[in-house]
Symmetry: C2
Subunit: 227 residues, 2 copies
DNA sequence: CGAATGCTTCGATTATGGTCGAAGTATGAA
DNA sequence: TTCATACTTCGACCATAATCGAAGCATTCG
């Protein structure tokens, strides 16, 4: 007669208002930091940390460590579907909810992320490289293909030198504004350096923004077309 | 920034182990009494009553008063779908659950329910009448059609006499074993009386069981074919 | 190397709510 | 009417867990 406690566990995870707000925020499909999620839930960072640990232990969330940030996202499509069905039923009996507002618009286009390009341009660059089969992306792992290596060398990047470094050449980095992956690692740094060296882009003062010149814009669009 | 609390409410309802066990038991699609649900949950009747009131207030359950019993069932298809998605996710990370065992086999086939036929035969009878468009069933309301009225009179039931009574002619009654509706009301009583008068069936001693004779079985199958 | 930021862990407080005993209500049976 | 069954309500107890302050760890920046 002993009934399994599993659906109760999932329910109780969703049942706390703070966690429910976090999950709702993550339903947008973008990864969020612990601090952001704490704000969404209206609780302190300590409490949020506890909740996030529970959600992760319950399999609802996955965590990506990114520098001193921790980005949380829904772990599987199934989690989203489950939440959607609950939200659908809940919506059918009352309360509506509103979407969180947009973010700072200035840095969304292009900015430096430690040492590589991030923002819309960063995401577009990686997307384009993957679409052109110059980088293979399986999950979070990036591998430069032979075609990619040739392309990189043709651009004047010293690939052999990159290989000698202990740092990974290709890494994914979760984008602050786009919340999708862009290219990090030594190759990502090399690309940004290239853009700046060529005079296509330059860093803003007292900001992480990257400003592309007109010729830079044009060259970037030719190098990394959008499909 | 105030996020709606609705999915948290639903989650917390599902999140309690006792309530989760009740909901799981109801996922079989059959209505269950408060006492049965208390047993499934492993709690006392008082506690179960409190839980059931909450689940009903949350819109997950509906209640049907039937004599001194209260039958509870999932309120909508959407509830079942929601629970199914949660169970699917929960199952994908661990515990399995087992189905509750079968019930007393003796009375399942046919028995008297106060004054009318219940059990498998009772359910089959109503199903057949509805399928033949002699009774229209909208929700819990039953209406005898013109064709149904003619059929009833052809069988020798005094429909005019039934109409004079204050009792409702057609009523649904939730079946103890089948947990689906069968025909109650004065017409239900008239049918059972007819079966007994014709010698097709008789009541068992000290039991609520109804035993059909061979000719009764045959006549019943002809009168109420299964589609 | 500090200093600052992002997050976790620990510990204590507090409150929500699950639980059951006892008593009360409603329905059916005798 | 009286008794039995099915269920609800009330009240009190108790355990779980949500919360936050303070301290600790990890990472980046200057």
């Amino acid at each position: 007669m002993k009934e399994g406690p599993d659906i109760a566990l999932i329910g109780s995870l969703i049942g706390d208002p703070a966690r429910a707000n976090m999950l709702t925020a993550l339903m947008g499909g973008r990864a969020l930091t612990a601090t952001e999620l704490a704000t969404h839930a209206g609780i302190t960072l300590q409490t949020a940390s506890s909740h996030l640990a529970k959600l992760e232990a319950g399999g609802l969330l996955t965590q990506r460590k990114q520098g001193r940030h921790r980005y949380y996202a829904l772990s599987e499509d199934e989690v989203g579907l489950m939440l959607e069905s609950i939200m659908g039923f809940a919506a059918s009996r009352g309360l509506t909810r509103h979407r969180p507002g947009p973010k700072d618009p200035a840095l969304r286009k292009a900015r430096v992320c430690y040492n590589h390009l991030a923002g819309d341009y960063g995401v577009r660059m990686l997307d384009s490289l993957v679409a052109a089969r110059q980088i293979e992306m399986t999950g979070d792992d990036l591998v430069l293909t032979d075609a990619g290596q040739a392309r990189v060398e043709a651009l004047g990047i010293d690939y052999a030198a990159l290989k000698k470094l202990r740092r990974p050449i290709c890494r994914t980095c979760l984008d602050w504004s786009e919340r999708r992956s862009h290219l990090a690692g030594s190759l990502g740094e090399a690309f940004l350096t290239l853009f700046i060296d060529k005079g296509w882009a330059r860093r803003e003062q007292n900001s992480r923004a990257i400003r592309f010149t007109d010729t830079g814009e044009k060259a970037f669009s030719e190098l990394f077309p959008q499909y």
